[in-house]
């Protein structure tokens, strides 16, 4: 590792084979007796090229963890990196530009800008950056549009698309910039089971075939079963870290955790 100079011996995120990581992360809201600790000293990394699911019951801190890892929220204590860039302490502008260029987002609902058509939404990260996609990026977008079956829908506005189609447009937008990491927050929460399965298969394929790192927050065991790795959160801590599991195994684990609590 030649690029580490002598006075910078810290191990970088990419040395660890990670796309993003957090260290001793704590997040609390309010203070004193009324204070709530959403995250308690969490250290974890999202492996590069993997599809990771983050699970846990409501209030376990999974969304807070994702928001901080994605640069949408600031931790109370601890550090966070996206790639080799430490994001804790970044100003709003730097953080925004970092998100624009190096993070992709897929949300449960309301993913698309309603006034722009599908292709307008897909190209938005480039346009916000004030540039046009390069030839390589253009080829990637064309490939995505093809794979996601959006070719005939590119000039439709979101309200003219079904939920599954809207989510596929959101996936195309999230993958278009080939970001370090794609965050998906309950991406199937608003979809019927068939469209949901399609979306999950597309995400899994993006990670398997194109080495895209993806972190998905979900409380759906079937969704988590598509992931290469499942992290379980409980009361602001990571309580388990499992490799790929079946939906039955995941449900059984969650049920057991629920009973134990």
């Amino acid at each position: 590792m030649l690029r580490n100079s002598v006075d910078d011996m810290e191990i970088t995120t990419s040395d660890l084979g990670l796309a993003a990581r957090v260290q001793h992360l704590t997040k609390s809201y309010g203070s004193g007796a009324a204070g709530v600790r959403a995250l308690e000293d969490i250290s974890v990394g999202i492996r590069r090229g993997q599809f990771t699911a983050i699970m846990g019951p409501s209030g376990s801190g999974k969304s807070t963890l994702m928001h901080i890892m994605a640069g949408l929220d600031a931790p109370t204590e601890g550090r966070a990196w996206i790639g080799d860039t430490e994001i804790t302490g970044l100003g709003d502008l730097e953080m925004t530009i970092l998100r624009r260029r190096r993070v992709g987002f897929i949300f449960q609902a309301f993913n698309l800008v309603p006034t722009l058509d599908a292709i307008g939404n897909i190209l938005l990260p480039f346009e916000l950056d004030g540039r046009r996609p390069t030839a390589i990026e253009k080829a990637r977008i064309d490939g995505l549009v093809e794979r996601l079956g959006l070719a005939s829908r590119l000039n439709h506005r979101p309200h003219e698309l079904s939920g599954g189609q809207q989510q596929r447009v959101a996936i195309a937008r999230a993958l278009a910039t080939a970001p370090d990491l794609v965050f998906a927050d309950e991406p199937t929460g608003n979809l019927d089971s068939r469209s949901g399965r399609e979306v999950l298969e597309l995400l899994a394929a993006a990670s398997r075939d194109h080495g895209q790192s993806i972190a998905m927050v979900t409380h759906d065991a079937i969704a988590a079963a598509h992931a290469d790795r499942v992290l379980f959160l409980g009361d602001g801590r990571i309580v388990a870290d499992h490799p790929r599991q079946s939906a039955e195994q995941i449900s059984a684990y969650m049920l057991a955790a629920e009973v134990a609590a």
Binding site: S63, H67, A70, L72, D73, D92, L93, T96, I97, R99, R100, R101, F105, F107, Q108, A109, F110, N111, L112, V113, P114, T115, L116, G120, L124, P125, E127, L128, D129, G130, R157, P158, H159, R173, D185, E186, G189
Partner: protein, 490 residues
């Protein structure tokens, strides 16, 4: 600009801790509606008082006492200006109420779910509009009378022929006060039309973001507007032609002006969107410009009505200025005496006074613009959060909201200037086209419209200022939207 500052105060989010029968008055938009009604009422009251005072002054003057012409002209202008101010205020109120309804959809749906009828829900809103109108009208009356008292006191000391005892208790002030209360009521009724489309189902979770207001096709109204515009334009043309023979051409042209402008105002939804679209293209293809352009057209009815308020003010001022300037140019050709320009000094003074008076409508329009932008931001909180998440910077948010404001004011100002120049020229042409001029005292024939540049510059600078001021509060609100809070599932 105190009005704009007042409007800023009203858009700050308020806690709803105060329960009670009038708690709804604290809702976003209500304060602005009261302010708008108060401004229109105060303006009307002051104009009534001024008209009465001028009448009394003229009567006290031994030389002018018999001639009532000036008093009549002043009275007609007062009615016209008050009507414009009331119209703009009503438009602003109707827009505000329709956006208040949009914010209340969930609650109305819940009421419908547990058994309230759509009619009763709308009646509640309309009743609130009446209360707002009454409060605004009374506040306006007090402000207007206070303002007039100061004005009269100043007038008494400055004017030699001031009337002995002028009473501020003019019965005429009841007209603008009652008028504003009623138009606000009516505006609330019109603005609350969407209550009828709220279904009980909307209370049940499924918070589908309504992206496009279902623009109900009101063909009848649009056809009516088109008929007005076409027949009005025909009369305007006829007036110009007739004006080449007789000064009475101006009567025909005046009728055409009233018809065509009414058509343009009622058909705002037909006229303004193409202009808005054109202006949107002017702003370029950057992401912020395109988003702003799309936003300005998202609720075409709302933006068009708002824009037409500004159009009215700009068109009126420009019309007077161009008509006077064109007449001046024509009349100058009647004589080659040097120094004749001095006789136009009263006309110039008149034009300046008109501009100041129409500016009141512009202030009301500014309040409406603040409201329009603010509610636009509030309604798109989640969208702004999404945009922030995927990389829209704070500066880009600011630019976007400012561009949205500019979009409407630029479209409105340009439309107003074009209409004003056209109407002003037609007025001068139809009145003076037959006047004999030098060198050989032939009728003047067609003249080129004379555009006085100073008023145009003043209008452009004023609307630019208005835009920037109106965008301050909504911009601050928009940049405060954090991606996380907006994206948290509800």
């Amino acid at each position: 600009m105190t009005a704009a500052v007042g409007a800023l105060a009203t858009v700050v989010p308020e806690t709803r801790s105060t329960a009670g029968r009038l708690a709804w008055l604290r809702e976003r938009g209500m304060g602005a509606s009261v302010l708008v009604a108060a401004l229109a009422a105060a303006f009307g009251v002051v104009l009534v008082e001024v008209t009465a005072y001028i009448g009394a002054t003229l009567q006290a003057d031994p030389f002018l006492g018999d001639s009532g012409t000036l008093a009549v002209v002043v009275a007609i202008l007062s009615v016209l200006l008050t009507a414009v101010a009331m119209y703009v205020a009503a438009v602003v109120t109707a827009n505000t109420f329709s956006t208040i309804i949009a914010g209340r959809t969930r609650r109305i749906a819940l009421m419908r779910l547990i058994g309230a009828s759509a009619r009763s829900q709308r009646a509640e809103v309309t009743g609130q509009g009446f209360v707002v109108g009454v409060i605004g009208a009374v506040v306006g009356l007090l402000i207007g009378v206070g303002f007039s008292a100061v004005g009269v006191a100043i007038g008494d000391t400055l004017l030699a022929g001031a009337p002995e005892s002028f009473s501020l208790a003019q019965p005429g002030v009841a007209l603008p006060v009652v008028g504003v209360a009623l138009t606000t009521w009516l505006a609330a009724h019109i603005g609350s039309r969407r209550v009828l489309t709220v279904t009980p189902l909307q209370a049940l979770g499924g918070s589908v973001e309504r992206t496009h207001e279902d623009v109900t096709r009101r063909t009848g109204r649009n056809v009516g507007a088109l008929v007005l515009i076409i027949s009005g334009t025909a009369l305007l043309a006829l007036g110009v032609v007739a004006g080449l023979i007789t000064p009475l051409g101006v009567v025909i042209a005046f009728l055409g002006g009233v018809l065509s402008f009414t058509g343009i105002v009622t058909g705002a939804v037909l006229v303004m969107p193409p202009v808005l679209r054109l202006v949107g293209r002017m702003f370029g293809r950057s992401a912020t410009a395109r988003l702003a352009a799309e936003n300005a057209l998202r609720y075409p009815e709302r933006s068009s009505r708002m824009a037409i308020g500004v159009v009215m003010g700009v068109a009126l001022v420009t019309m007077f200025a161009v008509a006077l300037e064109s007449s001046k140019a024509l009349l100058m050709r009647q004589t080659d005496e040097p120094g004749s320009a001095e006789m136009f000094a009263p006309m110039d003074a008149f034009a300046s006074i008109m501009m100041v008076l129409v500016a009141v409508s512009a202030v009301i329009a500014a309040v409406g613009l603040v409201n329009l932008l603010t509610i636009g931001v509030v309604q798109r909180k989640r969208e702004l959060g999404l945009l922030r998440a995927i990389g829209l910077t704070g500066a880009q948010v600011r630019r976007m909201v400012l561009l949205e404001a500019l979009h409407i004011t630029v479209a409105a100002t340009v439309t107003g200037l074009v209409l004003g120049v056209a109407y002003g020229w037609i007025a001068a042409q139809s009145l003076l086209g037959s006047v004999p001029v030098l060198p050989d005292f032939e009728p003047a024939g067609l003249v080129v419209p004379a555009v006085p540049w100073l008023p145009v510059v003043v209008i452009v600078v004023a609307t630019a200022l208005l835009t920037v001021i109106a965008a301050v509060a909504p911009t601050r609100l928009a940049t405060r939207v954090a991606p996380v809070e907006a994206l948290a599932a509800d």
